[in-house]
Symmetry: C2
Subunit: 437 residues, 2 copies
């Protein structure tokens, strides 16, 4: 029963107007759940059939959690939503005038469109880094990094070449934001508690974990207290932090730095930045610095019923954030929630309300027992901060099953000093990295 305005992707007919959501991240999922009883047909497009709980991706990369713990099938999560359909497909472009999208499986028309496509790794145009560094934004990338790190230690056990040994025993992380700090801390923990027992034939005094940050402090979006504490904790985990340092090129073996220094490492983890990630078809003046310009209601300026939420949205109407909101999960969740309320209001003929971000604080964990938390005017670190970090992440993770599995893993890891998922599940093909598209 296809209708003309449905274009060619088969979808059951509906008496309701159609809302298409692109992207099943924090923003998109929150929005759809909140709209579950509204008179709408909702169609979600995502390249993957699962939602990724990105804040814990670094634990997959460092063998602390299995990937299935931080992913939840989108169909399962959104089963209770009325008149809801999921299509696993990449969206190529948006025709904002004729109101349809073009995807790898065909075209589909919409009445409302919400773009929640998030962000992707930003290599700042550096080809050599893009080719050889390991990004950490998607589950396959995290798995790939895990295998790569373990494969390097396996290879180190059989090398007699000191240059190769140095390359394999060094790990560099670029970017001193939460991801970089958390990865560095987790690697420090692996070095201290796990690897020496696994590889008795290797000398772990020769393993160096180097965290590089362009600014003059770590966690620059957080308080001075958090920056200093993070530095102190990382030192305890034997992580070498180099501030005011940029990587200018990397060939898979040698990272060249802006100060002329070089680091020999077979593993360069790139956590230095993200950029917006959106389909083609929008006008140039709708885009600024890679993000989509939205008004105070998350509507893309110059369009009708087309919205953007989460990392991809650049909203300057919130007075406290004149350059736009930070690209963080809490912003995405609040925008998804708020836009859902506004759409429900508009469906009833009511006026929508402006979005206002409520910053509930930010946090980062650094290995075992250590974290930093900024919460309003409170700043604290250490064990209490770590417990808060654990609690917040555990209650935030989607799906009770995942919560149970993550909790079991953490309890196990904590009391045994073990990390159970040290599996290599790819063939060792140097340079064979999973790239973002």
């Amino acid at each position: 029963m296809k209708e003309a305005n449905q274009k060619n992707i088969p979808i059951p007919a509906s008496k309701y107007p159609r809302l298409i959501v692109i992207g099943g991240g924090f923003a998109g999922v929150k929005l759809i759940k909140k709209l579950s009883k509204q008179p709408l047909q909702i169609v979600l497009f995502d390249r993957n059939n699962y939602h990724t709980f990105q804040p814990l991706l670094y634990q997959v990369a460092t063998a602390g959690l299995e990937p299935d713990s931080i992913a939840d099938p989108l169909r399962k999560q959104l089963e209770p939503v009325r008149d809801f359909f999921f299509r696993m497909a990449e969206v190529y472009s948006i025709n904002h005038q004729e109101k349809y999208i073009t995807t790898e499986i065909g075209d589909m028309s919409f009445d409302y469109l919400v773009i929640a496509t998030g962000s992707k790794t930003n290599y700042f145009g550096n080809e050599s880094i893009m080719t050889h560094a390991f990004p950490l934004k998607q589950i396959p990338q995290a798995l790939d990094l895990r295998s790569h790190i373990l494969q390097n230690f396996e290879a180190a056990t059989i090398t007699t070449d000191p240059d190769k040994m140095e390359c394999m025993m060094n790990l560099a992380i670029v970017g001193g934001g939460p991801t970089g700090v958390e990865v560095a801390g987790a690697l420090g923990e692996l070095k201290k508690n796990i690897l020496p027992a696994d590889y008795p034939e290797l000398d772990f005094d020769k393993m160096n974990i180097i965290l590089l940050e362009g600014a003059d402090k770590l966690l620059s979006a957080m308080s001075g207290f958090a920056s200093k504490r993070a530095l102190k904790y990382l030192k305890k985990f034997d992580v070498e932090v180099r501030l005011k340092t940029l990587v200018t090129s990397y060939d898979g073996i040698t990272a060249k730095l802006n100060n002329g220094d070089e680091i020999k490492t077979c593993t360069l983890i790139w956590a230095a930045g993200v950029q917006g990630n959106y389909p083609d078809g929008l006008e140039d003046d709708m885009v600024e610095r890679g993000r989509l310009k939205v008004d105070g209601f998350n509507k893309i300026e110059g369009t009708d019923n087309i919205y953007a939420i989460g990392d991809i949205a650049l909203m300057k109407a919130d007075e406290d954030y004149p350059n736009g909101h930070p690209m963080l999960a809490p912003v995405a969740i609040q925008q998804g929630d708020h836009l859902a309320s506004n759409i429900a209001k508009m469906l009833k003929g009511k006026e929508p309300k402006k979005f206002k971000y409520k910053d509930k604080g930010s946090m980062a964990t650094i290995g075992r027992n250590k974290a930093v938390v900024d919460m309003g005017k409170l700043r604290f670190g250490g064990f209490v901060a770590w417990l808060i970090w654990m609690f917040i992440h555990l209650i935030s993770i989607i799906g009770f099953r995942n919560r149970l599995i993550v909790f079991s893993n953490w309890v196990w890891n904590y009391f045994t000093y073990d990390k159970g998922t040290r599996l290599i599940i790819r063939k060792f093909i140097p340079g064979n990295k999973i790239k973002e598209e």
Copy 2:
């Protein structure tokens, strides 16, 4: 400090004779653990850095368990073993006269050699089946099958072609042994409890699960009671069982049968047989029907200090098994255990003892709440059998952490009728299957 007889794979020097074990399956791991305090340097070679708990592989393929639950890193498991080293590498060949092995990372000499390389999928020389069917012997294969099944349902939601729909909605399993029966039951459970809610736009009356078996009964290695019960339970899960039926060819879409019938299916799971899997270099008269001929002490006939245990070993000296033991985990575990005792005896100058297999029974599970168990002269089925099956598998799985995670998953799946790991983590490339080598 390399010595001439060490060949070129670097390994710390030892005052003890060197035992090389090829393969970290049930047999190899059991042997090494039992030899942990003996005056030996033990070197284990495996292509993977983990041990696979194969009896639960089918649950990974059917989204019941994450792969990390049924795998355990070999280095971690064998950490307590004295003078033990692991090398992740494929072994190419054995020079049984000069006593060294050749691997992808170089050569290594041995004083004792234990071949515990297990078995691989047997396609009985059928090229078309080898190319297009899904084997189920390794973790990457199970993950690949899981993604393939889910991708087919995703693709079915957008097709309007009835032939394609039929191909995508049908699943065929070849082989009515424990693996085939267990996969079929698990798929039946998915059809009944999970998929209709996940894919409301599909008509699951059109989904057919077809189990094909060449013999005139299922589970032919078990009792007549078990065979009949398995058939009854599979019918409850809406699995169509065709006995005395062989697949003669399969092109990825159509399976041709020996009775002239055809089955349209995009998914043919091949669980019809296994064959020995061993390195080159042994004499032809050491091999029979793809397995290595061993005497009653698991020694390969015509060699000095070279042993084979587990699936790969063909021992006719055990009077109850004149054609060799069944290729099952309990045989492998008992042979690993027994050979370790014999090696310990020989190191002390004592006489080794002959191996005798103690059959403690066999079992298979069929979906939720149902299993069949043969134990001595006892035969039972149903819920009690299912509880026994769960208990035995839970206590057998290596590593307490894995046990905890598997148990959490099962409890969750049981009470919620959910299976949480329905993730597609590969790109959809038709025919892009992970093959055994």
